[in-house]
């Protein structure tokens, strides 16, 4: 029997998913600890033999596809001109490509900033600046600074097209660079797709070497992408459908991990009410944000800081007076493999998850502000309006394993204390029950229709 194999190299686990080539079913899944220090292949082999014991004999894998967030995932430094414009556009392009944006810079770089970039452990630099035909001197200056510092990290150039020739002249023979389309070709219009594609290509060719995955390329059938990019791909297919079948429409995916909370939305986010004027940078239809300070384990302490007692009370941590809250957060930060068993620990973890959902949705959703004008009350909207969003999908260990996943997702709804936030008000809750979003995102690269049918089957109401 023919089957597809999907591999997810995570920072702690390597997960394998076997999908039948003929029927729309998941045959088996297996996972094992990832060992980046030695060779990620060890974890893969353990998981693979485990997977084979669960499968019938005579299975032949015709396609093997992988995604990876091992060794901290793909780290990108974004450089732009004005913070609210090309720097923000560059940041969104990098996030959409599944990267972690470790640092951002704007205007002309100075020596100490370049030193900081050089010392950073970034995998790539995304260099933007200027609309097409707009400012040229800043991006050219920044290109020179990077070249003079002899930076060896690959540079993706996605700025004013009018400077491309000049930048090629500066970089040629000195830098590892890739020219792509401008992330902001005209003011407030963003164009993140070409930069995303370029980043993904470089990730496949260059990054895998650096992450102890030299052998990985040999046995997979060509596609290797950052895990968040695979999740975003799955969300896009489920939302927008394929040539042959409709998708389910606008949706949001919340992925709570140990270190970060990711929010993906696939929707236009246009105003849902009259008298609203849209302002600011255009939003990508498929948008991803990452909250590096909100997570269940590695980021437990920063979550504690971000939450404060206000959020703990909001999400009914009832015994807040009787337990040492700080100690609980510290424990989870220290013991990153802690699995709650007792009811009180499970409750505490779920409150943490609710806070992650609440704050990450607030940061992802747009805002609306009232403006008093001679024409009466007007509203000015920045970002996406998610008020009427129909679906909220949960994934990540704490939601997948919870007895009350919809309760956790509910924390992401509109709250009367944040009147200006455009968070969802009455979505339906869906759950990635088998934890297969990233695998199905990879499947979508091979067969979109099959991926869509399986997404509809395995993403269930909760």
């Amino acid at each position: 029997m023919e089957a597809f194999l999907f591999i997810d190299f995570g920072s702690t686990y390597t997960k394998l998913t076997a999908v039948s080539a003929e029927d729309d079913v998941i045959l088996a899944t297996a996972k094992s600890y990832t060992t980046v220090e030695t060779d990620v292949m060890d974890g893969y082999r353990t998981a693979y033999s485990d997977l084979m014991t669960r499968l019938d004999n005579g299975i032949e894998f015709t396609k093997k596809l992988a995604c990876s967030s091992a060794a901290g995932g793909l780290k990108i430094v974004a450089i732009g001109l004005v913070p609210e414009l090309t720097m923000e556009a560059a940041k969104r392009a990098a996030l959409g490509a599944g990267a972690r944006v470790t640092d951002v810079f704007s205007f002309k770089l100075n020596n100490s900033e370049v030193k900081k970039i050089k010392a950073s452990k970034a995998d790539m630099i995304l260099l933007a600046g200027g609309t097409n035909g707009g400012n040229t001197d800043v991006i050219v200056h920044n290109a020179k600074m990077l070249k003079d510092a002899k930076i060896t990290i690959p540079v993706v150039v996605a700025g004013n097209k009018s400077c491309n020739d000049e930048i090629i002249e500066i970089f040629e023979g000195h830098m590892n660079y890739f020219i792509t389309e401008n992330v902001m070709p005209s003011l407030n219009n963003i164009n993140v797709e070409p930069a995303r594609e370029t980043i993904r290509k470089i990730f496949m060719e260059n990054i895998v070497k650096a992450k102890g995955m030299v052998h990985v390329k040999e046995f997979i059938s060509g596609i290797l992408m950052p895990t968040p990019a695979a999740v975003l791909k799955a969300a896009e297919v489920l939302s927008e459908g394929t040539k042959n079948e409709d998708g389910i429409g606008d949706l949001a995916v919340i992925d709570i991990g140990g270190a970060t909370t990711d929010v993906h939305t696939v929707c236009e986010g246009a105003p849902s009410k009259p008298s609203v004027i849209l302002r600011g940078l255009e939003e990508p239809v498929a948008k991803r944000t990452v909250e590096g300070d909100l997570g269940m384990r590695y980021s437990a302490l920063s979550l504690y800081e971000a939450a404060g007692r206000k959020y703990m009370r909001r999400h009914s941590l009832e015994n807040i007076e009787s337990i040492d809250v700080e100690k609980e957060f510290e424990k989870r930060n220290r013991e990153t493999d802690f699995v709650p068993i007792e009811d009180k620990d499970i409750h505490f973890d779920e409150v943490m998850a609710k806070i992650c959902v609440d704050i990450s949705m607030t940061r992802h959703a747009g805002t609306v502000t009232q403006v008093y004008s001679p024409l009466g009350m007007m509203y000015s909207q920045e970002g996406k309006d998610l008020m009427e969003l129909p679906y909220l999908i949960g994934t990540g260990g704490v939601i997948v394993n919870s007895k009350n996943p919809s309760g956790i997702l509910k924390a992401g709804l509109f709250h009367e204390e944040d009147l200006e936030s455009l968070k969802p008000r009455h979505p339906k809750y869906l759950l990635d029950k088998e934890y297969v979003l990233s695998a199905l995102g990879l499947l979508a690269l091979v067969d979109e229709d099959k991926a869509l049918r399986m997404l509809k089957k395995y993403i269930v109401k909760c």
Partner: protein
């Protein structure tokens, strides 16, 4: 010579969009590269747009009477942002009530605006000034 770039918008809490569209259309027709940031725009949006697009002119409209408050400090902010020497135009119903326009004009010139237009100014008037300020008069044989 490449097209000259104009950042166009309606400043402050003002959402009068019609004149903005007419200006956008006419200036584009006249051969300018118009970057229209639309209504409800704070000073910072004009300035950020001008930096990214390497604009030659910022053209501010205001119809609701608060223009004088909204435009204060704009020249200083431009200087601070490295846009020294950029041309600043303002027009519309830029002050409250019926005031002597020559006084109004001198107040805006004091604030650093290069061109100040009273209500009812035709687009042609502004275009003529634009061509002059951009050194295009010779180019079109005027």
């Amino acid at each position: 010579m490449g097209k000259k770039t104009i950042v166009l918008g309606v400043i402050g809490a003002d959402c009068h969009a019609v004149g903005n569209k007419i200006l956008d259309y006419s200036l584009t027709e006249a051969g300018y590269n118009v970057v229209n940031i639309g209504v409800l725009s704070p000073q910072e949006d004009f300035i950020n747009a001008a930096i990214e697009t390497n604009a030659d002119v910022i053209m501010v409209s205001s119809l609701y009477g608060h223009g004088e408050i909204d435009c204060r400090g704009m020249r200083e902010k431009c200087d601070e942002a490295g846009l020294a020497g950029i041309k600043l135009y303002v027009g519309g119903n830029i002050v409250v009530g019926k005031q002597d326009f020559s006084e109004v004009k001198s107040r805006f010139v004091q604030m650093g605006f290069d061109r100040v237009y009273p209500p009812g100014t035709s687009v042609e008037t502004a275009l003529k000034d634009l061509n002059e300020d951009m050194g295009l008069l010779e180019a079109i044989g005027a």
